[in-house]
Subunit: 197 residues, 4 copies
DNA sequence: TATGAATGAGGTTTCATTCAT
DNA sequence: CATGAATGAAACCTCATTCAT
């Protein structure tokens, strides 16, 4: 199908090899910096950790917001990849819980997951929406409901909401591993068809 | 000998009526400003909304952090008051859920509830700890467990964690009323002794 | 109203006893505060140490500058009194040195002496000039020169200059007692008619 | 081993030519501004006189204190250079007096000399100590004492103290050239081995 | 008169963004 | 393309001074 080039089509310019490398280093640096200090961390700090000059950051990401968005796109890719693997290979009944748990674990390490989830199906703060993750969750949920492991009246938006909440909580509350397990156990119990018994 | 109030006696000076009024206006303005724009909103903005000069804000709250802390103390008071009422008057079996729900509803309106919860039982960012809220939740939980409405293996910290998560989620995700109900329903189902039936 | 109040007529109003007392306390507090922290110390700090409200300070001294000037007038009075005593009672040959030394000792304790000296016979920073101190020094110098203890070609302005310098030095350099003695000894040696021998 | 300069190596980066130029302009502007208005003059004023934006000043000197320190380092360099020249080329018996005089002359123009001297052998206000100047004075003094021009019981600290005092005095008292000569003459007379004769 | 709350200009510092090298 | 210096709008906070109580 040859649809006309949509106006918001950022890619399409084969970056030089070193530029490509810089882009990746900046992205990685930004992810770790923002994970540590939150999104109000300075762009200079990102440049420093990436080992490039501040100008280079702004050449790749004209705005701080662009940088944040790119981090999320990047992370989202990794997450949906993981979801796809689970759909293909995992136990249908528990794949959703596995993915959900790993999402929250990651949030404990990376503040960005949270923002990513918060944007699914909502108006955005960073300039561009992101929806694929919801698709992945929908698939996992559907699978689990088919396997009769999760109550049929539960919706993807419910799952997204719970995941968002859990991620935020894990992050801001400084949950330790034990508390994370206990909290998710309660959520999962609430989602299951059968009582714990 | 009852010497006159020693000159260096910082606490407990009954503020003048107009100052009292201004303090309240500033607190209210700050609560709404921070609720809208998050804690990185400018103190100048708070002063503007309160209709006072910037110096007045800093006279009442020498540091931005002091202002944030004061907002939380203030909110906490209102919350524990509500909890006390529920403990005295509400249905033992459902009082916790009622309080929990109202907590999250409020979070949808005021970003600050979230920060408040996030601090229960944790090191603080704003300079002073806040723990009474946890006490209130503990009492409600105990009551509900006595009434056999909530699983006995659930702990206050679990409840705090879930509440924190739900508040954060409600806030960042822009949950509407319906989604809020559905999400909390799942959490409550996970906490109850009996399955939904 | 009878006569129009002449514009530059500061005194002439028999202060109420308590007002008088406050004025004195403020002056004392100001002297010690400015001695400790320099003239950029805050007026609030002065009020606090005096145990009065800030408004009271400004009622007595409409401007910070007025306060500084008043401190100096006050100090000057005490200094010239001391000089008068020395002229009457001291050894003519050494009275100047005694007074000079005590000036510098005081400077080591009170930053204000220095500013006071710096203004003798100069354009002022604090709004009003002060000249009596120079008179006192002139008398002591004259006496010493009559006693043939000090070289006749030395002038009051030289003495003022040396005293200013020594005070400033004693203050800023953090001279200890030993260094103060040694330094003044050199200055005095330079002023004497006979060599040390 | 000549590994490539590690990325995190703060000192010693040869500034770009234009930055170098700006740094110099800022330093010059700062020196003149602080000389005129004292160290409480505003950094904005410095930026204005240097013809740069405020941010540029803070890029070069992250703190006002850093700026003050830099001015002093800079001045100190010029002073010790002059002292070195005098040690090499001047008349041993009078080089100290020449240097001392020029110090005070400069103080009459630049308030900073005074602060610089005041720090020799003392705890500092600006963040880093400065001691080379004392070395220079020590050398000059030693030379003069060898030439039997200055009393042997005089110490560098005495000389520093006198110089500090004279500089402070020259500055604060608004000494004219004549008074400066007369005052220094007295100090020198006090230091010399032989009476004026 | 005394009090102390309010004012608001001004100071230092940070940081996203631009642009000369 | 990369670099990093320059920009300048805010942000936070201080303090002399005014004025209602």
């Amino acid at each position: 199908m040859t649809h006309p080039r949509s106006p918001a089509d950022p890619e399409r310019r084969p970056l030089r090899a070193d530029a490509q490398r810089n882009r990746a280093r900046i992205l990685a640096a930004a992810e770790s910096v923002f994970a540590e200090k939150g999104p109000s961390a300075s762009t200079e700090g990102v440049a420093a950790r990436a080992g490039v000059a501040i100008g280079t950051v702004f050449r790749h990401f004209p705005t701080k917001n662009d940088l944040l968005t790119a981090i999320m796109k990047n992370l989202q890719q990794r997450l949906t990849d993981q979801a796809d693997t689970l759909i293909a290979d995992g136990d249908p009944a528990t794949a959703l819980f596995t993915f959900f748990t790993s999402l929250v674990e990651r949030a404990a390490a990376t503040r960005t997951v949270v923002d990513l989830l918060a944007q699914t199906g909502t108006e955005v703060r960073p300039d561009e929406p992101i929806q694929d993750l919801e698709q992945a969750l929908r698939a996992l949920l559907f699978q689990a409901q088919r396997a009769d492991a999760i109550r049929p009246d539960i919706d993807v938006t419910d799952v997204v909401a719970l995941a968002t909440a859990a991620c935020h909580g894990a992050l801001s509350g400084g949950w330790d591993e034990d508390l994370r397990h206990r909290t998710l156990a309660i959520m999962f119990a609430g989602m299951r068809t059968t009582p714990d018994a």
